[in-house]
Amino acid sequence: MSYPSDYRYTQEHEWVRLEGNVATVGITDYAQHELGDVVYVDLPKVGAKLNAGESLGTVESVKAVSDIYAPLSGEVAEVNSALSETPETINKDPHGKAWLIKLKLANSSEVSKLMDAAAYEAFLAGKQKEASA
């Protein structure tokens, strides 16, 4: 799967799609593949204030539980409540239907710290090289 060129990425494998002052956040295809079958998602409440790097919730697969970290600071404006009934959407459409939350940004200058698609793909390639070393 390719990584959308208009998204930004973190080393923790979250993606961000920016629309004005609002960031839509999800986990990457690499992340869903590493996790395997997702069976449960725990997301914050609308209105929760998050600092960049803080845990915003968890995604659980059959074999593992994993924290998801806020890529940027802000206030939760919307959560994808459909995921509570169909968490497997994260495996099927991680970059689209399976967005997790929308954040109203507190400090849009943080965006510059995130990777673009090319940098993220290079980061993944580096990981794979390390894994096969």
């Binding site: 923790e12 494998h13 979250e14 986990i27 990457t28 690499y30 992340a31 593949h33 590493e34 996790l35 395997g36 079958d37 069976v39 449960y40 968890t58 995604v59 659980e60 697969s61 059959v62 074999k63 593992a64 539980v65 994993s66 924290d67 998801i68 970290y69 509570s84 495996n91 990981k127 390390e130 894994a131």
Partner: protein, 431 residues
């Protein structure tokens, strides 16, 4: 998002984050620890494994530079696109198409598992039976040629060195199948405690065997195409010698999934041929190649213990609900007097199954809480049960809280989740 592998754990070490996850040497599951509970690591290690005692205590870090061991099918798994993990020092497939689909295929059709990492130990000689009897708690004297039994390798304290299958090949010849990560420890233990006492030889024979498990309602039909042996008439926990696809094999009607099925032992050089033959023949019947992830969820649903989780050298057969594999009347064996004493004094905790009451998932190591929030133990294995579509687990609970229907609580991160004790096994196949 922190993917569950050891690479991440290691890089987080070097970046000094306050929280990290590790893959336990004997576990498929990452365990969360705060770095403050660990001594600092200043060197870059190729491989870090943690041994986390189920009871509270200091964490021990073992860092090694050893290469992972590989089964004869390692490159085959990689070619099939399996996700590989370090399991007890072995580079093993954890999943191919996904744990849920592999689990369901095994329950409803068939699953094919490479379990060549399992250890084999052979005991041969005029006093082979005495040696086996001395170190295990079940009664191997009851076995007839071609019969297997589930048993425990005992410490002198009556706790588990390992659990194992004892196969009687013939008078004076026993084949023990032990856990992969315990193989060398078990071999040395059996050799050392019996040295000079018995006229027999013990051989660490793991490298002479590959092992495939074909499990599920379609397993018999698929395997029948490859052998002339009367395997349909083979009883559960019995085995025979014969050819599978013209390869000499020991075919045992055993398994670790709760389904009918077979475990096939043979020389490693035939691994790829047999694997491909069974995979190709099974495809049209719905057979899937399965990894250790599904093997774990299948055995958990079937209420079977896993060494390092439900049983270890701190637990006894009485506590583990395995009294049926302990034959006190068979004569003396290692740990017998300690087990007799505990039988008389009674136990305080017992292994029980539980079902979560909401959607939260209890996982290995999560604390068990009593009414006042005190920790009374830990979850030994916890996971979604893909066939039952429930979240289940096993844990040691106080005997007075072990009756089915009893409500217990489990600490899940910052929350307390409610669970109910239920009878084991969670899943029993229709017969």
């Amino acid at each position: 998002m922190s993917p569950p592998n050891m690479k991440t754990a290691r890089s987080r070490f070097s970046y000094g984050a306050s929280q990290t996850e590790f893959l336990l040497a004997d576990s498929l599951f990452p365990v969360r620890l705060s770095l403050t509970s660990l001594p600092s690591l200043t060197t870059f290690f190729r491989d870090v494994s943690l041994h986390l005692p189920l009871e509270s205590g200091p964490f021990v870090i073992e860092a090694t530079t050893t290469q992972l061991r590989k089964t004869a099918l390692n490159s085959t798994h990689r070619r099939l696109g399996a996700k590989m993990v370090n399991f007890g020092g072995w580079d093993m497939p954890v999943e191919y198409s996904g744990i849920v689909s592999e689990h369901l295929a095994t329950r409803t059709a068939a699953g094919l598992f490479d379990v060549s990492h399992m250890g084999e130990i052979e005991v041969r000689g005029p006093q082979a039976l005495d040696w086996v009897q001395f170190v295990t708690c079940n009664d191997a004297a009851k076995l007839v040629d071609g019969q297997a039994q589930y048993s425990g390798l005992m410490t002198s304290a009556g706790t588990f060195v390992d659990d194992l299958l004892v196969h009687k090949i013939s008078d004076g010849h026993y084949l023990l199948c032990v856990n992969a990560s315990n193989q060398d420890k078990d071999f040395e233990y059996i050799r050392d405690v019996g040295r000079g006492r018995f006229k027999a030889q013990v051989e660490n024979a793991g490298e002479r065997y590959s092992q495939l498990a074909i499990q599920g309602p379609k397993a018999l039909g698929i395997l029948t195409r490859f052998t002339r042996q009367p395997i349909a008439a083979l009883k559960y926990y019995h085995f025979l010698h014969g050819e599978v696809d013209r390869v000499d094999a020991l075919i045992a009607r055993t398994g670790y999934t709760g389904e009918d099925g077979f475990e096939i032992y043979f020389a490693p050089e035939h691994s790829e041929k047999l694997w491909n033959a069974l995979l190709d023949a099974g495809k049209s019947e719905g057979l899937l190649p399965c990894g250790l992830g599904a093997r774990n969820t299948l055995r958990l649903e079937a209420g079977m213990s896993l060494y390092g989780h439900e049983i270890d050298d701190t637990t006894t057969v009485w506590e583990a609900n395995l009294g049926w594999i302990c034959k006190m009347g068979k004569g003396d064996f290692l740990g017998r007097s300690a087990l007799q004493a505990q039988k008389e004094s009674g136990i305080h905790r017992i292994l029980a199954g539980f079902e979560m009451q909401d959607r939260l998932i209890a996982r290995d190591g999560y604390p068990l809480l009593v009414a006042d929030g005190q920790k009374t133990g830990r979850v030994t294995s916890g996971s979604p049960a893909p066939f039952l579509k429930k979240n289940v687990g096993m844990a040691y609970v106080p005997v007075e809280s072990s009756a089915p229907g009893t409500h217990i609580r489990i600490g899940i991160r910052s929350q307390e989740a409610s669970a109910k004790i239920v009878p084991l096994p969670f899943y029993k196949r229709p017969r």
